[in-house]
């Protein structure tokens, strides 16, 4: 075991007061995490090896402008009972009620298309040797509400590096599990199933883009996208595809589910942009879940310093 001197401990690793007071529950959760730890998949976020600089930058503290509003973490109970996950129903409470029976082990991910190592990977193999890091990100839903969630995951680019995209690859397409037996929402035709999402390769390789396996220091609950989901903090939440079973590298912009369902309302890029309204509501402000007042929405959800350069020269009103 590594024994550190006090001044070696970065501030991000110090247990927050709230967690200290809540330590019994944390210890309980840590117990259930033992299995995850043993397989090297999950590391308790509070002790994670994440560079503190990353967290602070990702949290956008530099960006928040003249009158910073607090970015308190959304309570775990809220983040796990207020979800958009139409595979389990269209009401916000449906996923937490209906996702419990989803079997997330064993889980495999097909990697195909323009890669050197296409294969069906067992999830553990796909992530083997990659250390999960904790990232506290704002999550902005296209419906104009938001949360702050501490994710556990690995940068998508590390996983992509493992499968080695060919030089001709320009986009990444993701697909959710299709199994109406386990996902009751798929028995209806609310959306064309299975759910698909996509990113440009440079977006996918951006260091902020995560493949998440956990949150709040625990394994990912089913309703939040277990066992593997995408987190792209500068885009609207629907880009964060859940229960991923396929990753395909392509040279053409992939079709995405919400864009297919309503192209005038949901674009391929879906970057958080207060200047581009949804046709039926303004995106200028958002309501942080748990608050009554709205707060201003930040361009790129406050991560503009890190990601704006990806879109230089583009008309983000047209490519919304």
């Amino acid at each position: 075991m590594l024994i550190r001197r006090p001044d070696d401990i970065p501030s991000a690793e110090i247990t927050p007061e709230g967690v200290y007071h809540d330590r019994r529950r944390f210890l309980g959760a840590a117990g259930t995490l033992g299995l995850g730890l043993a397989t090297g998949l999950v590391t308790p976020g509070l002790l994670s090896a994440c560079a503190p600089g990353d967290v602070r930058e990702a949290n956008g503290e530099v960006e928040r402008g003249a009158q910073p509003l607090p970015d308190d973490r959304t309570p775990y109970e809220t983040a796990t009972t207020y979800n958009n996950y139409y595979e389990f129903g269209t009401d916000k409470e449906d996923p937490s009620a209906n996702a419990g029976a989803l079997r997330t082990r064993p889980w495999s991910v097909v990697v195909e298309g323009l890669v050197k190592r296409p294969a069906t990977y067992a999830l553990d193999d796909l992530l083997k040797g990659l250390t999960p890091i904790e990232r506290v990100y704002r999550m902005r839903c296209v419906e104009a509400w938001s949360m702050v969630i501490p994710w556990l995951g690995v940068p998508l680019r590390d996983v992509l590096a493992r499968v080695e995209p060919l030089p001709s690859a320009r986009f990444v397409e993701f697909t959710t599990l299709y199994d109406p037996k386990q996902m009751p929402g798929q028995r209806g035709g609310v959306l064309p199933w299975p759910y698909k999402e996509g990113l440009r390769l440079d977006e996918a390789q951006h260091p902020l883009t995560l493949l998440a396996t956990g949150m709040y220091g625990k394994a990912l609950p089913n309703q939040n996208g277990a066992p593997l989901r995408l987190v792209v903090p500068w885009k609207y939440g629907f880009k964060g595809i859940k229960a991923i079973v396929k990753i395909r590298l392509t040279d053409k912009q992939p079709r995405t589910t919400w864009n297919d369902a309503a192209a005038n309302e949901y674009g391929f890029y879906a970057n958080v942009n207060p200047a581009v309204d949804h046709p039926r509501w303004s995106q200028a402000r958002e309501r942080r879940i748990g608050e009554f007042r709205r707060r201003p929405t930040l361009p790129f959800n406050g991560y503009g310093e890190q990601v704006a350069s990806l879109y230089s020269g583009m008309d983000l009103r047209r490519d919304f």
Binding site: Y86, T90, V190, S282, F292
Partner: protein, 220 residues
């Protein structure tokens, strides 16, 4: 002697009170839930209580519109003519819930930002539709008193209050349009309205047929 004379009056009062309280109950309940949410306690309004109360008031308005329009068919089916005077009360409660819906949108959702209300209503067609539906309700509510009915005369008053059908159509369009993707709820409600409209259509057709028949018989 005195009790038999008083009983029908008392019973009428009690029925009135019961219907009034039942109609006011959703408002009291929603008010209580909003108070809980405001104090960061868990409530039936969900994790986003502003959205929760916005949807709940709108849906309650639609329910009361259906109830109002159901009074006449129910009377005709069952002969319960004592229901007739309550149509006005239900209609006024409908106006109350529709106004609450608009007030929640203005005060809680848009935080009383008048400029934003104006631009939002102009920019979003489904809001225009909802707002026009509410505007149509205003003259109906204003002319709901006995004095106004007398001043307008029964025929003109009846014609004016046919606007309720337009309110139902616009209200349902607003409801459908506001949904992100899942239109199950507005679809179920619209079935109710289709049934209520169909009943009226059939009755009108029967009345016309009944009015024509004696003429034919006379001609024969």
């Amino acid at each position: 002697m005195a009790t038999t004379a008083l009983a029908p009056k008392l019973r009428k009062r009690l029925v009135w009170l019961a219907i009034f309280l039942a109609s006011a109950a959703p408002a009291l309940y929603l008010g209580w839930q909003l108070w809980l949410a405001w104090n960061f306690r868990s409530s039936d309004l969900g994790k986003d209580p502003v959205k929760g109360i916005e949807h709940a008031t709108g849906e309650t308005a639609i329910r009361f519109l259906a109830l109002t329009l159901a009074v006449t068919p129910v009377r005709q089916l069952t002969g319960w003519n004592w229901l007739a005077p309550y149509r006005r009360m239900l209609g006024l409660f409908m106006f109350f819930y529709a106004s609450a819906h608009l007030a929640v949108f203005y005060a809680l959702d848009l935080e009383m930002n008048l400029g934003e209300v104006a631009t939002e209503i102009v920019k979003r067609p489904y809001l225009v539709v909802g707002f026009v539906a509410w505007l149509l309700l205003v003259p109906l509510a204003l002319t709901s008193t006995k004095g106004m009915i007398r001043r307008l005369g029964g025929k003109r008053w009846n014609r004016l209050h046919k606007a309720t059908y337009a309110v139902a159509a616009l209200g349902m369009l607003h409801y459908f349009w506001s949904q992100k993707k899942d239109i199950t709820d507005p679809l179920l409600f619209s079935l109710v309205f289709v049934a209520l409209f169909a009943w009226r259509g059939v009755r009108a057709w029967q009345r016309r047929a009944a009015a024509v028949r004696p003429l034919r018989e006379r001609a024969a």
